[in-house]
């Protein structure tokens, strides 16, 4: 039996809320059950309750890769390979979690944010739309296509993870972050009245962070910075405050 568009849409929509019941002992366990429930009801027949219990337990991975895991499980459950689906689920969650964190949180999100900030120098009102479009144009298609990819490659799920598109997204967004940082710093510094102060402070900040300078909290850092700047008597006028 093929997965219809309606089934796929249901899994996609429910995957968006996979962290909705995130808790410390079982993490996304109930969320995964919620994602799979309609499909299991459709394919498991009399074994539905048994299949549900199989997939209500500990589970945690990157939320944007849950549709992929769901696709793999959906196919295996359809073929009656219940125990194999549990093994596949358990073996995938760690690698997919690490992959998703590296791809989305460490690369795509900072790139989208920096792009939005860079755009705001010219069109402040456009920052929010740019961030939303840049992030969701990658996030939502990855989730939608993940269901089909997992469903098709249930025999060798790890093969489909490393897609060309994922690699290109990672490469492109990873390489966008530093130029965007430089652009924002340069533009802000030279629009302010004291570019040297801004650049010096930035350099000091980089040095501190490179030396693993640990801040107890944001409050502590702000206080220290305020005291430092106040003592130095630096009067910066960054563009957003003018």
């Amino acid at each position: 039996m093929k997965m219809s568009i309606q089934d796929r849409f249901t899994i996609f929509l429910r995957s968006l809320s996979v962290q909705g019941s995130w808790n410390f002992p079982r993490m996304q366990g109930l969320g995964l059950f919620y994602v799979l429930a309609p499909w299991l009801r459709k394919v498991s027949g009399e074994r539905f309750q048994e299949a549900c219990r199989r997939h209500l337990g500990y589970f945690n991975t990157h939320p944007f890769f849950v549709p992929y895991v769901a696709g793999v499980i959906a196919r295996l459950e359809q073929e009656g390979k219940g125990e194999e689906s549990v093994r596949a689920r358990n073996s995938m969650m760690g690698p997919l979690g690490a992959l998703g964190d590296g791809l989305f949180w460490a690369n795509v999100r900072p790139a989208a944010v920096l792009l939005a900030v860079a755009v705001s120098f010219r069109w402040p009102w456009a920052a929010a739309p740019v961030l939303l479009v840049a992030f969701n144009a990658i996030h939502l298609p990855e989730m939608w296509d993940g269901i089909r990819a997992g469903f098709r490659r249930s025999d060798n799920p790890f093969e489909a993870i490393s897609t060309g598109r994922g690699k290109s997204i990672s490469y492109f967004s990873g390489h966008l972050v530093m130029p965007a940082c430089g652009f924002i710093l340069g533009a802000a510094a030279f629009r302010s009245q004291t570019p040297v102060s801004v650049l010096t402070l930035f350099g000091l900040g980089v040095l501190l962070f490179r030396r693993k300078f640990k801040i107890p909290s944001v409050f502590g850092y702000l206080l220290a910075a305020a005291l430092l700047l106040g003592a130095a008597g630096v009067r910066m006028r960054l563009p957003w405050f003018m």
Binding site: Q19, G20, W105, A106, A128, N136, G186, V206, A226
Partner: protein, 224 residues
């Protein structure tokens, strides 16, 4: 909307709804400060300040990433609180004061998040029982409840933190004589903090060539 109490209530409802996007549903990044603060700024009649506050907090929390099971501090509450402070007129023309006074609302955000995740443990146990009884529909319902509870906890926490921080900001502003240049400078620092933290990590990976190219374009843009 000129009644401050009504403004705080509206902002709290907004915070509750938008905080669902933090983790419970979607993660479309509607809860990023630049988006949420801009929207709330529009709602409260201070769109320009909303964008500025959003950008400041966006850059401050740029390096705050939810890697693994780590739950980082979220910039949503401080950004929205700062917009509310400006919106109700507690810090007229002194945006930096609003930015600094709003930062303690991080504690309220952390409280709401922890309470929600703890309450989900009970919800999970209930769902397990329902499933054992063969009521999978009720187990699914528990999950939907959990999503809504995320909004409820954040609504309560935001209402509480705003009801303290908004009057506090009024007191702080009155206590500062003359031009608060010192606070202006202090509030400008977050802008550099996030950039420095992010760059420090990536310079090690030889990202400095890209950084130099970007910096050159930035300098040109700044000068022109």
């Amino acid at each position: 909307m000129s009644n401050p109490l009504l403004q705080i209530l509206v902002a709290s409802v907004f915070a509750g709804v938008i905080s669902i996007d933090l983790a419970a549903f979607g993660q479309f990044q509607l809860s990023r400060p630049v988006v949420a603060a801009s929207l709330l700024g529009l709602l409260l009649g201070c769109p320009a300040e909303g964008v500025v506050v959003g950008l400041i907090f966006e850059l401050l929390f740029l390096d705050s990433l939810p890697v693994g099971s780590f739950i980082p501090d979220q910039a949503l509450f401080p950004a929205l609180t700062a917009v509310v402070i400006v919106g109700v007129g507690q810090a007229p023309g002194v945006l930096p004061v609003a930015v600094i006074v709003a930062i303690p609302s991080l504690a309220a955000s952390r409280w709401a998040d922890t309470q929600w995740r703890r309450s989900n443990e009970r919800i999970y146990n209930k769902a397990e029982i329902y499933l054992r009884l063969g009521r999978s529909d009720l187990a699914e319902m528990q999950h939907r409840f959990a999503v809504l509870r995320a909004g409820f906890f954040h609504f309560l926490a935001f209402l509480f933190s705003c009801s303290i921080l908004v009057p506090v900001c009024g007191i702080v502003v009155k206590g500062i004589p003359g031009s608060p240049a010192f606070l202006t400078v202090a509030a400008a620092v977050p802008f550099l903090t996030g950039l420095a933290a992010l760059s420090a990590d990536r310079v090690r990976r030889r990202g400095w060539i890209g950084f130099a190219v970007g910096l050159s374009f930035g300098v040109l843009t700044g000068l022109v």
